[in-house]
Amino acid sequence: MGPESLEAKQQAAIEEILKVYPQKAAKNREKHLGVGTPNDENQKTCGDVRSNKKTVPGVMSQRGCAYAGSKGVVWGPIKDMIHISHGPIGCGQYSRAGRRNYYIGVTGVDTFVTMNFSTDFQENNIVFGGDKKLGIAIDEIETLFPLNNGITVQSECPIGLIGDDIGAVARVKAKELDTTIVPVNCEGFRGVSQSLGHHIANDTVRDFVFDAKVNVDTSDVVATDYDVAIIGDYNIGGDAWSSRILLEEMGLRVVAQWSGDATLKEMALTPKVKLNLLHCYRSMNYISRHMEKEYGIPWIEYNFFGPSQTIKSLRKIAAFFDESVQAKCEEVIAKYQPMIDAVVAKYKPRLEGKTVMLFVGGLRPRHVIGAYEDLGMEVIGTGYEFAHDDDYKRTKEEIFRSTVIYDDVNEYELEAFVKKLQPDLVASGIKEKYVFQKMGLPYRQMHSWDYSGPYHGYDGFAIFAQDMDLAINSPVWAHSKAPWEKEG
């Protein structure tokens, strides 16, 4: 299939897909679908798609909400704090321990990530307000979980609608108990997706960790010239650990992980680092920009998926430091190269030319493209649940060929694209997984690494390669058709 015919096929698929919508919805969705190429003229986005707009009502969007962005993504993994899902029971239950944010700690005693704390609103809390209940809840937490280093209050939808003042409760209780209590107004109806929740959460880190006294001692850590922070790595399946090892090997000191396996102290230490390393741009660019403006800390984006991007990123990071780091960086690259060569030699012949369609969240729709391409696989479609223009702009730089771009794709569209473009692998989330497996298509969850991982760094790439081979070359897909069914 040549590039022209692929692009034509992709354009035709978009036109066909739009036909089913009522006029208004078609007009809206048309702006979110496009075909991007590495040579796109429009420098602001990719495939001319529009993004970060309201979802069309009544379609099966994959998007989540602001609460998911704050509690589920940014704050939730901070392990020595307790994150209260403030409101009715559901939100905390559905989001409990599903993201695989790994951490080291004694759950329920000094760390709390996989637990679910809820104020379990009843009707009287809606009618008379829930501030009093929140205050009592905080007291009970202090009694039963004395080793917590702080509490965040993650607002669910009703909080912002019934006029509760969680800020006042937090202020009073923080003073009374001499601890960090962070009120987060991340009600699910705010904004168009989880993206606003990231932003709101970032702002509360600024206000309640940087600009307030935190009750953890940071004085024992003396700053060095090689201090960096990993920003926007949620340690899914241990991703931050398989990244951290490389940075330390090249002579840097990783002072903080934001926010996978993070503690409050690490967050509080970050304003003293020399460089912020930003992996998930979408969810944590806000706090990185703030630290640049306020503390003069530069930040760079990096990509630890696949050896090509990892090597590029390691050198980019090393360039910020002195020659000793740069020399060690080359040593690190040289050390891992034989292993990576062996991985590619083993798996590329089994995967070469296989096509992939992606649909994920923050950074992966562009960041993992290079990892697939390192294995000889071709990404022919990608899109984001909650990206903004700047994400699509960055996507343009990562694609290798004509690629169908779908923003906030819904289940109908993704299914139709897959049927028309017939990829060999679909890589997206849990909600879509079984739709495509029913069709007999190999599938990998790219939020949770399908209960595998880590995928970051050199060690992670080996796992990634093995998992993609497992998915594509498993004998199970051949069983879909019964022997008595005719060919075709």
Partner: protein, 514 residues
Amino acid sequence: MQEVEKIVNGKDLFKRPEYQEVLANKKQFESSMLAINPAKVDEVAEWTKSWDYREKNLAREAITVNPAKACQPLGAVMVALGFEGTMPYVHGSHGCVAYFRSYFTRHFKEPTPCVSDSMTEDAAVFGGLVNMKEGLKNCAAVYKPKMIAVSTTCMAEVIGDDLMAFITSAKEEDGGEFLPMDYPIPYAHTPSFVGSHITGYDNMMHGIMSQLTEGNKGETAQRINIIPGFETYIGSLRSVKSIVEAFGADYIMLGDHSDQWDMPAGNYEMFQGGTKLDDAKDCINSSATISLQKYATAKTMKMVQKRWKHAGGFSNPVGLKGTDEFVMKLSELTGTDVPQKLKIERGRLVDAMQDSYPYMHGKKFAIWGDPDFLLGLVSFLLEMGAEPTHVLCHNAPNGWEAEMRELLDTSPAKDSLNVWAGKDLWAMRSLLFTEPVDFMIGNSYGKELMRDTGTPLIYIGFPIFDRHHLHRYSISGYDGALNLLTWITNKVLDQLDEETKNIATTDYFFDLVR
């Protein structure tokens, strides 16, 4: 570093010395107590096992920790997916729907269709009418469902949207292009701050049954409606149908999601199986309605019994006695003797119970789950001579606690059997430390309890995310009881092997034959 001939994932990778060093080195920047003072962690961990901690823990009134319940719209989505070609439609913000879909999908390992009308700030101010008008139209155009079942999130409930008025005006404005006036769009208000997922089940079932049957009251047919309740065991739905069919009875199962959440591989169709809409519209004319879950259908059954005057009532066919009662009720309603097929099934179950009883007799169990599930399971445990020491129901409705107490009081061990209504799983943790049991029966949330207390967990309940295919089996009927017996007995035997396997120390009891 990875070795290409033996690539390992995180399970083994992080055990390697180079990663252990990374993790140890990280501690200097951490504020969690394990990094600062591990002895303090041990001290507090020990305290959490004490009676002192238990008293404080059980006295909580404001913070819920590790709940064993979910919210109303989840149950409403389940109801909708049990009807032919029906799209669950949740009026509110779309984050909720993403959660419902993930939750069910992780349990069933099956797709879970459901849409939302994506309300945001402006809808919070002006109401969600615009979203509803567009949402219903788009949903009908894109997915072409035969019916759309509307429920609500807490956002829509707090702002007080009027579903009936909204649906009518959506149809009027559409002018019949996508939403003809007779297009079935039943609805239910399902506020998350009232009750739990079983309340939402009840409300949506009530909504569909009352609204689809409007004006359809005609001649009564000799036919039985069966309402399964919030049933997460696909096999249970099939067992129940096969029992009813054994009587040759004409019946309608209202809300039958057994095909929807158990699709064969080969191709994907969004909707499969479900109660035929024509049957649902006519269910008012059945002579009887049996609800299999009393506490998940209270409102629905009030309508059926008070207004529709149906015979039937409640019957919970879990365990031997529960199934016997169901079978006898069907026998009475149909005027037919119990069929030979069921007599044989019963005989086989009793035979199996008599084979395995020594392993369950006197064993202490902790169990949690939905109210009707617990009544069935506890009844079965008692039939086997087991002791349900802690029975915990987080979403216990009024009346449940007394009914469970009455059931437990039939046991000779009644004085040591406890009912815990409205308590969560962090409370269960204290109970397990202070008054230990031999086994737990529950959902995946028991995993941390298993790790903390060392109590073996038998996976029966909802949700089960980390074990495969259990939901395909039945826990209802004689065949379902046989599954329960098999799972529980074999877990007891696994544990016996586990405790006796140590070479030259305990393996004198490591028997080949049991």
